[in-house]
């Protein structure tokens, strides 16, 4: 089962190595990963996608919580959240294919962000399903290259992932 997990960590030297090392050292998978500072520049947010049954996920969350620089862990499974990925696609665009290409881009509310004589770069954001679908449609037109971010996620409504009071950890 696939889970999206967000982790607030101290924004410091080596923290990503410690988190990713925990996954590799204990035989857990990371399918995608995204890391950036939060509004509080001393805190970074890692969002990752992993797979495993309930027991494995429970261990992943506990082992993450045990890491000293980890402030907070949230498994978004079934919490009612939004999830997005961003993909840039470089597609062959000649006179013959441009019409169909623009149609597909419109339908998926994508943006053309670079236009060359023989290629376009298209930007699309969305859930995993939407991105897979547009890539499928673009394939026959000739995809030259794609670059895809890891998934990011957020609770719906006013619920947030925030640093608890007194974040100092003992173990």
């Amino acid at each position: 089962m696939t889970h999206t997990i967000s982790i607030l960590v101290e924004n410091e030297f080596g923290v990503l190595a410690r988190v990713s090392g925990m996954f590799s050292g204990r035989g857990f998978n990371i399918e995608s990963l995204s890391v950036a500072p939060t509004l509080d520049s001393t805190v970074s947010r890692i969002t990752l996608v992993t797979t495993g049954d309930d027991a494995v996920l429970a261990q992943i969350v506990k082992q993450l919580n045990k890491l000293v620089p980890v402030i907070r862990v949230s498994d978004f499974n079934d919490t009612g959240n939004v999830e997005r990925e961003l993909v840039l696609v470089k597609v062959r665009a000649d006179a013959a294919s441009r019409g169909e290409l623009m149609n597909v881009i419109d339908i998926f509310r994508g943006k053309v962000i670079d236009v060359g004589p023989e290629s376009y770069i298209i930007e699309i954001t969305g859930g995993e399903g939407k991105i897979d679908a547009i890539l499928e449609l673009l394939k026959p037109l000739g995809i030259l290259e794609i670059v895809r971010t890891g998934r990011v996620a957020m609770f719906r409504g006013t619920q947030t992932l925030r640093t608890p009071e007194g974040k100092e950890k003992v173990a």
Binding site: F13, G14, M22, Q59, K62, Q63, V68, V170, A171
Partner: protein, 586 residues
């Protein structure tokens, strides 16, 4: 809380190295073990001026790490080891990993090349931070002298708090040399308090214990770390609950207590593993369901509900489902749970245990002959008495000692349980002797293990410590040999140590006195020699020839259920003869 009068001082200018030494002094550190080197020279210069810290010069950085571990295992307090950059750091990492697996509070300080040289493949540069990530609770690469004021107390706090463990601080040479003005000192880092589980969970635990007909207490290293020995004994006595221990938990309970069933698992007695098979409630305290303890997990305590008390919640459900996981300091949790239970003798269950003990006892052949493994261990224990600290290396001698030594108190037993590091014993015993100079210190070791840190004999002599080394020499890597004979069709390969030094002469070369039990014609002479040697001043080595064909039994084949152990009766069919062995070696 900060005591401002104590922590505020007139402003003074100190180098990073002087700061480190002052912060260690403020932590109460009295002994550090280490080896200097280029990048550590500023630190050593400052250390040499300390009036209160004694430096123990090891002869290999791994020795320094294990000397600090020996001190930590005896005292329960974080202890400090030091290595220089590069090879100094890589050498000490085995001792750090060992501390992680056994949850020993250790603060390891490594020197690093100057910040400007990091990443340039400088002389004696290695990525110590990166190498130490998976084997530490927390690690630091310090980038300024000012950071030391936060990092060093935090390292001590983290090493001692929650589930104890090693913390590594990598300090570049330029940071050691950087001078800063210090006006206020941080409070020393101390163990942080741990909350109790919710009252309803404590009451549920008490109810489960009261409802159980055949409960067993399964105790481990966490009971030692928590100082729960007294709580375990009270609980067992009051509620009539038999106790089994992991390798790491030995000493929490008196070995001769009628409710103590000894070590469980791979080399546990048959009756111990049979009792676990029959129990209906497993009260797991400060344990992690290690594979050497559980055997095949699906067949471990198959009829039991499980209460799992541990300070580290990630241990709950990691290996075996806990019907009731309780997170907290195990001594405090027991103190909360036990008064809520009904005191009862459980005569029926105890009678069943007595029956198991009688029908499938722990056999100790040669138990009355000091020239045989079990007899030797019992004779040493008689000679040194209950005050002694017992360290071991790793292998057959370690398992024999775990089975046969009459432990009577926590922190009496120092052994590398999780990592199983050969070479642990000698430096750990030196550390024990430094931390508890008033107690006799015994080291059981083997001819394989002792050579892995033999150089620390020089440290023992230089420091004037008294370590009595019982070297059980079977001219082989005995546990490897044993498994090759039992599980690899008797093909003996890579485990023969028959071309070996004269260990007595080697000990004398380092300045120790040495005796050889091989010179004794009968058990009386052997016992007499042991008594004389153990009473001699200073460190001594007692060489004890052991037949290479001796097995540690019972033995659960790796991956099998604990109740399917091979015992003395069964093992005669797999034990090879001397002739077979010599043919194999020819």
């Amino acid at each position: 809380m900060n005591n401002h009068n104590e922590n505020r001082a007139p402003k003074q200018t100190l180098t990073g190295a002087e700061l480190i030494v002052r912060l260690l002094e403020r932590q109460g550190t009295r002994i550090v073990a280490g080896i200097p080197g280029g990048a550590a020279l500023p630190l050593y210069d400052a250390l040499g001026k300390s009036a209160s810290i004694r430096h123990v010069l090891a002869r290999h950085e791994q020795g320094a790490g294990f000397i600090a571990q020996g001190m930590a295992r005896v005292s329960g307090q974080p202890q400090v080891c030091i290595a220089t950059s590069g090879p100094g750091a890589t050498n000490i990492l085995t001792a750090v990993a060992d501390a992680k697996l056994d949850s020993i509070p250790l603060v390891c300080i490594t020197a690093q090349v100057p910040l400007a040289l990091i990443g340039t493949d400088a002389f004696q540069e290695v990525d110590t931070y990166g190498l130490s990530i998976p084997i530490t609770k927390r690690n630091y690469l310090v980038r300024s002298a000012a950071e030391l004021l936060r990092v060093i107390p935090e390292a001590f706090r983290l090493a001692a708090s929650g589930r104890p463990g090693p913390v590594l601080i990598d300090i570049p040479k330029c940071v050691q040399n950087e001078a800063i003005e210090v006006g206020e000192w941080p409070a020393p880092g101390r163990r942080a308090p741990v909350p109790l589980p919710a009252t309803e969970d404590i009451e549920r635990a008490a109810a489960m214990i009261d409802a159980a007909a055949q409960p067993i207490l399964y105790i481990g290293g966490g009971t030692i770390a928590s100082g729960a020995g007294a709580a375990i004994r009270t609980f067992a006595d009051r509620n009539g609950i038999p106790v089994v221990s992991t390798l790491m938990g030995l000493g929490a309970m008196d070995a001769d207590h009628p409710l103590f069933l000894g070590m469980l698992g791979m080399h546990g007695a048959r009756y111990t593993n049979e009792a676990l098979d029959a129990c209906d409630l497993l009260i797991a305290v400060g344990v992690r369901f290690d594979d050497r303890a559980t055997g095949k997990v699906a067949a471990f305590c198959p009829h039991a509900k499980v209460i799992h008390i541990d300070i580290d919640p990630s241990e709950h459900g990691k290996i075996k489902h806990a019907h009731l996981p309780l997170t907290g300091d195990v001594a405090a949790v027991l103190d909360a749970v036990v008064p809520r239970t009904r005191a009862r003798p459980r005569a029926g269950w105890r009678a069943e245990i007595a029956r198991l003990r009688a029908t499938c006892p722990l056999e100790m052949p040669g138990g009355d002959d000091a020239r045989a493994p079990y007899g030797l261990i019992r004779a040493v224990a008689r000679a040194v008495g209950p005050d002694a600290i017992v360290a071991t290396d790793v292998g057959q001698h370690q398992m024999w000692a775990a089975q046969a030594y009459p432990f009577s108190r926590p922190r009496q037993w120092l052994t590398s349980g999780g990592l199983g590091t050969m070479g642990f014993g000698l430096p750990a015993a030196i550390g024990a002797a430094l931390a508890a100079p008033e107690r006799p210190v015994i080291l059981f070791t083997g001819d394989g293990s002792i050579l892995m840190n033999i150089q620390e004999l020089a440290t023992a002599v230089e420091q004037g410590v008294s370590v009595k080394i019982i070297l059980m020499n079977n001219q082989s890597l005995g546990l490897v040999h044993q498994q090759q004979r039992m599980f690899y069709a008797g093909q003996l390969f890579g485990a023969d140590l028959s071309v070996a030094p004269d260990f007595s002469a080697l000990a004398r070369a380092f300045g120790l006195h040495a005796w050889d039990l091989g010179d004794c014609a009968d058990p009386e002479a052997a016992e007499q020699m042991l008594t004389t040697a153990l009473a001699a001043p200073g460190s001594v080595l007692i060489h004890c020839p052991v037949d290479y064909a001796e097995h540690v039994l019972p033995m659960v084949p790796p991956g099998a259920a604990n109740v399917d152990a091979i015992d003395h009766t069964a093992s005669t069919t797999v034990a090879s003869t001397k002739e077979t062995r010599h043919a194999a070696l020819a």
